[in-house]
């Protein structure tokens, strides 16, 4: 299996505080990896380092074997990385379809002049983006939401739309930051089923940060536990779940 995403000894230091301290991890093609840990363990910071929103103090980030540690976020997106956010970050004031089209434009080419002067490429870019966005909406069975303004959506649907937007980028590696937070148990179960469907159909690798074991256990091939910025344990879900150190960090149990 080839590594889609690789972190080598990544560290992020805020002042004197090591938010992330020497994290190494690998996500292989088509694999689903769960990143879990208590609040403040450094999961989201790790995510931001991977996507390029947070510069790493040390270590390297590799995408498909290429070092992207110094590359800005949009370059990494062009290399197949895609993400959702812990707090949903849809583009307010735009419809669901328009939100997806922003992402779908990754595959189109039209500059300021082409757009402003209605040169030939403009219409094609808009058509392609709309087709792509509608196709993804249909795939996730969200077509009925297309024309709704995104701030009017309940959290559950907003998360689905954010997933749809991320998929419009045709990612090879999808990063999901607490996709189930704010969802009720029923919605969470549906979301897990949907992610499984996405995985089996599109075959993209996923890295997800999640608290809810009900999401992590059925989905993940591999689980990484973080605490205090370090990797505490790593392995298949069941094995990690029974790891005493993990139970101590997570449940506050004494290590016997």
């Amino acid at each position: 299996m080839s590594a889609i995403l690789e972190l080598r000894d990544v560290g992020v230091r805020f002042g004197t505080f090591d938010a992330v301290d020497g994290v190494s991890l690998t996500v292989n093609a088509g694999e689903v990896v769960g990143l879990i840990g208590p609040n403040g363990a450094g999961k989201t910071v790790t995510f931001n380092v991977i996507t390029g929103l947070q510069p790493a103090t040390r270590g390297r980030v590799l995408l498909g074997g290429t070092d992207v540690t110094r590359q800005p976020a949009h370059v990494r997106t062009a290399m197949g990385l895609s993400r959702t956010f812990q707090v949903v970050q849809l583009f307010a004031g735009m419809s669901v379809l328009q939100n997806l089209m922003v992402a779908a434009h990754r595959h189109t080419h039209a500059g300021v002049l082409v757009d402003a002067l209605r040169l030939p490429g403009r219409g094609r870019a808009l058509r392609q983006a709309e087709e792509r966005a509608r196709a993804v909406l249909a795939f996730l069975e969200l077509s009925h939401l297309a024309d709704l303004e995104v701030t009017s959506l309940p959290v559950g649907q907003a998360r689905l739309v954010e997933l749809a937007r991320a998929l419009c980028l045709t990612p090879t590696c999808l990063l999901l930051d607490e996709p189930a937070s704010g969802l009720d148990p029923g919605e969470t179960a549906d979301f897990v089923a949907l992610l499984a469907h996405v995985r089996s159909t599109l075959g993209c690798a996923m890295l997800l940060v999640e608290h809810d074991m009900g999401v992590v256990m059925p989905l993940c091939d591999h689980v990484i536990v973080m605490d205090f910025g370090k990797v505490l344990a790593s392995g298949p879900p069941l094995e990690v779940r029974d790891d005493p150190a993990v139970r101590a960090a997570y449940l506050g149990e004494e290590v016997h």
């Binding site: 996507t51 390029g52 929103l53 800005p72 976020a73 949009h74 997106t77 062009a78 895609s82 993400r83 956010f85 970050q89 849809l90 583009f91 307010a92 004031g93 735009m94 419809s95 328009q98 939100n99 089209m101 922003v102 992402a103 434009h105 990754r106 189109t108 039209a110 500059g111 300021v112 082409v114 757009d115 402003a116 002067l117 209605r118 403009r122 870019a125 808009l126 983006a129 303004e149 937007r165 980028l169």
Partner: protein, 633 residues
């Protein structure tokens, strides 16, 4: 060395005045998070008022005291109008309205250019005090220094020791929590604005003699130095602000000396202050709060159904074509000259619609971009480039300058960008437009019209008509271009960027590139407007593109509604009509009437922002949208 020491020290008294005015700004900012751009204008009003009182026989100190009370009253009134505005940025735009109002009122009452009134002097100039052979200070200057230092120390103590000072900080950090603790937030704000107004007013009264007499422009431009000092104080520390003002005062004579070798260079003081503003903005710690936009930056327009979009555009264009010729000259003939004006100022407004409404950034220096377009055209034509190519070169130059201005916007909040662009406007006024490489010796660089639109004797009417078609054509194309841009890939990226920068980057767009393109496109359109204006009046000069122009353009864009492309036509018509009625800003003879325009623009801006930040088109479209609901009910 001794030379430089005495040079620097010569700037000390005026530096103390920068510090004083800046403290007025800081006091207001500390509580309300609103930047008082009208600080210099308050000083202007107070200085003139004190002078009038004095000439009517008031004793000096009493005149000064009453004038300072006026400053406090203006501050209180400003607080009342800023209060309804949502967000610090909107509040700051309200203070721009006050700048216009105060400048207008003073200009109307006293006449704009003529400084016939003598400034009030607390102590006569009579005696000089020798400072160890390095420098001579007049009594007046020593008094200024002492007064400023005492006042600064007093204010600093006031804010750290008294209950009101503590309350001020509480209000600024967490207004709602302060409210729950029983602090009267409105009362604290009123006191801060009153105090700030009084201090800024006092600074104006004191500094007037140092600026060589009363002058409506100089006292307003004085704001740029106060801004610089306030930024050095990080908008919070009064002692640092004082140090900043004094340092700026010490620095200016040295910079002026260093730049002396360039012949005809002017405005080095403002240039120094501008540099300080930029440097402090770039080194200022980011507040991390991105909600300063408040209500001013409207949510992007809902996607109109294709049919409606076509109709809206058609109506806009029809308005441009049909209504514009209704503007007639004084003999009653259709005035092609005025049609050209509508198109040109419409273009200028359009550039702001693009920048504020689509890119989501505020620029108070759009007239500077116009100036770049005008001078660029003039310079290119001086090298034998034909007119139509020259205006493109001018516009490209303006686009490049706009991209440069946009560069700090990558790091700055919209409010900070407003500070930077306003400072640029002031600096362009004093420095850029008289800079020898740009301006000709008389400050007016000739721009010849293209052959098909020349106005040689016997060809005037035809020439004006041809030029009007040219300007109108470019304007209509630009309107379509902005509308098209907004609804395509670039528009999607720009709109997304305003909502969430991290998410836009995660969608594969470079934040840097998208923002800079937005700025460049806006600068290009403004540059075209400036270039066409230069062709219309056959010359490029800075007077048409002064800071008042930049502010009023922004005001019109906000009044009309920054989200509206057809609204740009309205902007063009407002500028043209007011010019027709009251004369252009560069028309010195009509000074009083121009001031009326300025004043009313300010009043309307303040009123509109108090009612709705969406502007006129916002009110209209909201009412239109409401109707179906009524029917349904």
């Amino acid at each position: 060395m001794k030379l430089y020491v005495s040079l620097a020290l010569s700037g000390l008294p005026i530096g103390a005045m920068y510090a004083l005015s800046a403290m007025g700004i800081v006091i207001v900012f500390k509580t309300s998070k609103v930047f008082n751009f009208a600080a210099g204008a308050i000083g202007l009003a107070c200085a003139y008022f004190a002078s009038t009182l004095h000439s009517h026989g008031f004793p000096t100190l009493l005149a000064v005291a009453v004038a300072v009370l006026l400053g406090a009253a203006i501050g209180v009134l400003m607080e009342l109008t800023v209060r309804p505005a949502k967000g610090a940025l909107t509040g700051t735009i309200v203070t721009l309205g006050w700048l216009l109002v105060l400048q207008g009122v003073v200009g109307w009452v006293y006449g704009t250019q003529v400084a016939t009134n003598e400034p009030v002097q607390i102590v006569g100039d009579g005696n000089f005090i020798d400072w160890g052979g390095v420098l001579l200070y007049s009594n007046q200057q020593v008094v200024l220094l002492v007064v400023a230092a005492v006042l600064a120390a007093g204010l600093a103590v006031f804010f750290t020791v008294t209950a009101l000072g503590t309350a001020t900080r509480a209000v600024s950090e967490a207004p709602d929590a302060a409210r729950l603790l029983g602090i009267g937030v409105n009362r604290v704000n009123l006191v801060a604005w009153g105090l700030g107004g009084a201090v800024s007013g006092f600074a104006g009264v004191l500094v007037a003699p140092l600026l060589g007499g009363l002058d409506t422009t100089k006292l307003v431009v004085f704001t740029v130095q106060a801004l610089a000092a306030a930024l050095v104080g990080r908008l919070s520390s009064l002692p640092l602000t004082f140090a900043g003002g004094v340092t700026l005062g010490l620095l200016q004579p040295i910079v002026a000396r260093a730049l002396q070798q360039f012949d005809g260079i002017k405005g080095t003081q403002e240039l120094t202050a501008f540099a300080v503003v930029l440097v402090s903005l770039l080194f200022m710690k980011r507040s991390g709060r991105r909600d300063v936009g408040g209500g001013l930056l409207p949510a992007p327009l809902q996607p109109l159904p294709r049919g409606v979009f076509a109709v809206a555009t058609a109506v806009g264009v029809a308005l441009a074509v049909l209504l514009a010729p209704l503007l007639v000259d004084d003999v009653g003939n259709a005035s092609h000259y005025n049609v050209s004006q509508v198109a040109i100022w419409g273009l200028a407004t359009l550039s702001l619609v693009l920048l504020v409404g689509v890119v989501g950034q505020v620029s108070v220096c759009q007239a500077v971009f116009m100036g770049c377009g005008a001078y660029g055209t003039g310079i290119a034509m001086g090298h034998g480039v034909p007119f139509l190519l020259a205006i493109v070169i001018g516009a490209v130059l303006a686009a490049a300058v706009a991209a440069l201005v946009g560069l700090p916007a990558l790091r700055l909040e919209p409010l900070e960008l407003a500070i930077a662009t306003l400072s640029l406007s002031f600096t362009a006024d004093r420095f850029l437009y008289s800079w020898p490489p740009l301006a000709s010796s008389d400050g007016n660089r000739p721009v010849a019209r293209p052959g098909f639109a020349n106005i040689d004797p016997g060809h005037v009417a035809n020439g004006q008509r041809a030029y009007a078609w040219l300007a109108l054509g470019i304007f209509v194309v630009a309107c379509f271009a902005v509308a098209s841009l907004r609804r395509a890939r670039t528009g999607a990226a720009l709109t997304a960027l305003r909502s969430s920068e991290p998410a836009t980057a995660a969608m594969g767009f470079s934040v840097v590139s998208v923002k800079l393109r937005g700025f460049a496109a806006s600068g290009f359109i403004a540059g075209l407007a400036g270039a066409l204006y230069a062709g219309l009046v056959q010359g490029a000069s800075g007077a048409a593109f002064d800071f008042t122009r930049s502010i009023t353009l922004l005001a019109y864009a906000v009044i009309i509604g920054v989200g509206s492309v057809p609204g740009a036509v309205l902007g063009g018509m407002i500028v043209t009509l007011t010019t027709l009625t009251f004369g252009s800003t560069s028309d010195v003879a009509n000074g009083s009437q121009v001031s009326l325009t300025t004043m009313f623009t300010g009043i309307i801006l303040i009123a509109i922002l108090a009612l709705t930040p969406e502007g006129l088109t916002g009110i209209v479209s909201r009412n239109v949208r409401k109707q179906p609901e009524l029917v349904a009910a």
